[in-house]
Amino acid sequence: MTGFEPRILESKILGNDCIAREIYRLTLKYDNAEVKIKPGQFVNLYLNDKSMILPRPVSVCEAGNDRLTLVYRVVGKGTEALSGYAPGEMIRVSTPLGNGYDISDVVSTVKGASKKIVLAAGGLGVPPMIELAKTLRNEIEGRADNSATPDTSAASNTGATASLPDTDKKPEIVAVVGFQDEVFLKEELERFCHRVLVATDSGISGFHGNVVELMKTFEQPGDYYLACGPKLMLKAVSEYCLEKNLPIQVSLEERMGCGYGACVGCTCKIKEDHESVKLKKVCKDGPVFRGNEVVWDD
């Protein structure tokens, strides 16, 4: 938890734009609330049509103070309804839920050397990489604040990638992102990452293949991996890291009931410290776990 109590807030829709085929960027403003967000956290969206009672969990893509950007794909009735919500309308949204990526572990691992942090993401695993890259970049650049500060956002909104300092002494952030076909959020990633490598299943753009295949073409593996995407991809990345004994954090996805830890609907199997397997809640204990601790086979 980020140190405050979770809540459900009425939030105003500032924008809800189609950014690729069936991919929407939803920008929200929490009403009268200052909310701290860690990259890798998600929010619950509560729909207006009361025939759909469960919240829709969606990762935070980018955040700044009282506003929030989410990127979602229309896959079913709920996201379809969501895509019809217009700017100005209100929507009920939870404050950020779950634990995000463990940033301090990344920073301490790659500290003081020209090391490489790899963000590996596939499909709708890409959106949370934006806030993650931003936060890591801030950390690397020596800013103390984990969360996005308004002026950082502002600065990066100018697309000031070129003006960032050289990577000589500082770790490099490389995003390796895969899509089925259409590429999205590449420019946003380029604002914060030193390099952005794209793979597409269709071969329409970038590397023809998937993220893991692309990763394996690296001459030099990264020093820290942070991943989000389909389970099979996360498993493959984790196995790759396990083999090479590299640290990896993965963000899991599971069908949720409550999203805050009450229903035990979203369990995953975690083998902490190589001990016995424990059932953890993706929503509360995750969604980010160490890739080498996740028990993949079931």
Binding site: E5, P6, R7, I8, Y46, K50, S51, M52, I53, L54, P55, G78, E254, R255, M256, G257, C258, Y260, G261, A262, C263, V264, G265, C266, T267, C268, L279, K284, D298
Partner: protein, 318 residues
């Protein structure tokens, strides 16, 4: 956060004027108010982040069993039109861990604690109950919707004689009041209610979930790993109200009514049907503050409509 601090706690009334009597006594235990949490939809630390647990008449815990259970693989949750399906499969750390880690924390609040008990055999129920009788839990709720592994997996609660047998066995050893939680997947709920009353049950709670199924037509397989799951939420309310109404007229013991209660008005509907206490289940997953919101709405309804006690609501049905 809308909950009041502990020292501002409201016992008999929604605000300063204490003209409302929300207290209810079932099986010799007095609850400050009739709002409780439905088993499996409340988790002390997580739910307690949204509201003050002291506001509740009682907490009813997730089902605990003699040994730890892993429950079902995921997916365990599916949405249904106006409701949800779950096949959590009663994952729990076992009664010993519960008594060690959970119960003391719950007993730290100024609310009653009703422990929900699950089992796969009569013996498992009894041994879990025995252990819980040595604790300061206030009451036990026996979930007989569990499959009886000795009888080919048919739910204990689906068979009148099995329901009676579990009740008899548990009552024999229990020093705590016993609430039997019935499954709605039966032909004649009144018959089962009468059978458990005859065996000495101190109360009845209903309904558990309706057995349902959802198929993902694109993946061509059931959405839930377990294929079938329990339907809950607003959609089950008409069935739940009907069963509470039928059971109220079949037995004399107190009834805990639940199934799709989303608002204070829904709660009133259950009281009019015959419930003494209500539980909030799925509503709390959909709106974490639901139990205290519903309590507030209940108080509001009573004030606006001139009811001074729960008994008056219960007597209102023409």
């Amino acid at each position: 956060m809308i909950s009041l601090g502990k020292n501002q706690k409201v016992v008999n009334s929604g605000n300063s004027d204490s003209d409302l009597d929300l207290r209810v006594t079932i099986a010799g235990v007095t609850l400050d108010n009739p709002v409780t949490t439905a088993s499996g939809t409340f988790s002390a630390r997580e739910s307690g982040a949204f509201y003050d647990i002291n506001e509740l008449g009682a907490v009813i815990t997730k089902g605990v069993s003699l040994e730890p259970w892993d429950g079902n693989p995921t997916p365990r949750i599916a949405e249904a039109y106006g409701g949800m399906l779950n096949a959590v499969g009663l994952q729990n750390p076992g009664v010993d861990a519960f008594i060690r880690d959970e119960l003391p924390y719950l007993k730290g609040f100024d609310t009653k604690v009703i422990v929900n008990v699950a089992g796969k055999t009569k013996d498992e129920y009894c041994r879990a109950v025995e252990k819980l009788c040595e604790t300061d839990a206030d009451m036990l709720e026996i979930n007989i919707s569990c499959p009886n592994i000795k009888e080919g997996g048919i739910s204990f609660g689906a068979d009148t004689s099995m329901a009676a047998e579990i009740t008899r066995a548990v009552k024999k050893i229990s020093k705590k009041p016993i609430i039997m939680k019935l499954t709605p997947n039966v032909t004649d709920i009144a018959e089962i209610a009468r059978a458990v009353e005859a065996e000495g049950a101190d109360g009845i709670s209903l309904i558990n979930t309706l057995l349902g199924m959802k198929i993902d037509i694109y993946q061509k397989k059931p959405v839930l790993w377990n294929r079938m799951g329990g339907l809950s939420g607003p959609v089950v309310k008409p069935v739940a109200v009907r069963m509470v109404y039928q059971v109220r007229r079949a037995v004399k013991i107190p009834v805990i009514g639940l199934g799709g209660i989303m608002t204070g008005e829904d709660a009133v509907e259950f009281f009019m049907a015959g419930a003494d206490v209500i539980s909030i289940g799925t509503a709390a997953l959909v709106d974490p503050e639901a139990p205290v919101r519903i309590k507030r709405e209940l108080i509001h309804f009573m004030k606006n409509n001139g009811y001074r006690s729960l008994q008056e609501i219960k007597d209102a049905l023409l």
